[in-house]
């Protein structure tokens, strides 16, 4: 497999908009829906996810290229990626408890749950499947993180509005949320004429 020579910046923008992790690949849905009631918390989680994504994709890239491949243990990549993600989340949790205690408490269980956020493992796996080089990987991780952050912040902002509006009873809660997510996905897809990756 040869690395597709896509400009890293195209990957960056595409992963924010047209190939948005959550809105086009439907990865990382659980926290996307459950922590999007309030803009501030959602944005906080978005930052945490972005941080973890960049952190873990870079570490995973390095470990994959320089440890896993040379040793010929590609079949262990899931285990390796998961351990790296778990350790990163652990460290970020410690840091957040120290420096952002309010956000730490608000995120509650969803912070450790980033460990099993499929979007995060997804990035590391896509990076391997698509055979990205370092810069592509870095910008892919960063772009996907920012894309997830943008999506959850936008959803939370809309949900804060709908929370104060009169909506039909049957649509309250998850019903309307899913409709909003669908419309958002359509809107993000609207950019697909400009750039798209895979």
């Amino acid at each position: 497999m040869s690395a597709p020579q896509i400009n890293p910046f195209i990957i960056f923008f595409a992963s924010i908009i047209t190939s948005n992790m959550v809105l086009s690949n439907f990865l990382g849905m659980c926290s996307f829906i459950s922590v999007s009631n309030e803009f501030k918390t959602a944005s906080g989680l978005g930052k945490a996810v972005t941080l973890v994504m960049v952190f873990t994709t870079v570490i995973n890239f390095v470990i994959y290229k320089f440890v896993v491949v040379p040793l010929g243990i590609e079949y262990l990549r899931y285990v390796v990626f998961i351990i790296v993600i778990a350790a990163s989340v652990q460290i970020i949790e410690l840091a957040m408890d120290r420096f952002l205690p309010d956000l730490y408490i608000k995120l509650g269980i969803f912070l450790p749950l980033i460990t099993v956020n499929c979007a995060i493992l997804g990035i590391s796996l896509f990076m391997v499947i698509r055979n990205y080089n370092f810069w592509q990987t870095l910008l892919f991780g960063l772009g996907s993180g920012l894309g997830w952050w943008l999506a959850i912040s936008a959803l939370a902002a809309i949900r804060e509005k709908t929370g104060k509006s009169k909506i039909p009873k049957g649509l309250e809660g998850p019903g309307l949320t899913f409709i909003i997510i669908g419309l958002m996905a359509l809107a993000f897809m609207g950019f697909s004429g400009i750039f798209v990756i895979q």
Binding site: L71, V84, A87, Q90, I91, A95, D97, P101
Partner: protein, 366 residues
Amino acid sequence: MEILLTIISITGISTVLAVLIIIAEKFLNNYGECEIDINEGDRSLKVEGGSSLLSSLAANKIFIPSACGGKATCGLCKVKVMEGAGPLLPTEEPYLTPEERKDGVRLSCQVKVKGNLRVYIPEELFNISEYIATVTEINDMTHDIKEYRLEFKEGEEIKFKAGQYMQIETKPYEKVREKAIRAYSISSAPSDNKAVELIIRRVPGGVCTTYMHDYVKVGDEVRITGPYGDFYMRDDSDEYVLMAGGSGLAPIKSLVMDIMEKGLDKKMIFIFGAVSKKDLYYEDFFRKLDEENEKFTYVPCLSRPEPDDKWEGETGLVTEVLGKYVKSGEGMHAYLCGSPGMINACVDVLVTTDFSEEKIYYDKFS
């Protein structure tokens, strides 16, 4: 070879990450030295931040009751934190009433010491210690009540409020395979701080009373903890009604001795309920107090005096006698100690004599 390689590489990666986490923990979880101010400057502890308030206090020999060991499942380790606790955690919410939340009550196992804290801990909590006391005296008070004097080890002292109780931990004996813990009120005065005296009435089949009555001899060591309890004198009244039944006399005796020793100017009436003359004890002590003090009245009351008793004092139930001696309870305090039945009946009578219910303090022995 491949198996080895797999194991080594996974182990290697895990080790590196574990080391990273340890370094991060050392660096990020290091809150430096924090100061815990207890009861508005009463005490001040310097602790290393990063651990829970519960364990930081325990490290300084302040034992907050906790049954689950810091897992937020028992809800016992409540402590009032005035400053520095951070927001309430979801793990604490189920255990705190709205009033407690307003008052800043927190579960000390969930509060992490990250900076200086100001906390309020009820005095009796940081007074609780464990003692291995030696039985130095056993006196028969009545046919079924014994008085025990338990002396502490050289240099050990206790600070308690008259009316509080100790817990005795029994050792397994005969068919009783497990240790048991039972509470007994202290009958000695707080000034006698190198020992405690307990009054123990034999309960037929009782695990601890049988142990104390039949197995413990002078010279034996007994494990006790305390002091516990919120049955103690409040100082905002000058007139007290004291009532006791059976072994409930213990805390009342301590209270009276405390008041006498301190020379407090209190008017007291002590009504002691017993079945017959053979159930009366500390008679001489209280009669002497009565004679020597104008303000102290001792009223023993027998419910069923035997003909041989030649009893000339009060007879009947304590509630009847109570109504006779206490006409108006306005501004008075009542301290009751005895069986739940007796206490409930007495509270009912006291309330009809203008006693404010908050001023009736009791300790139910069951």
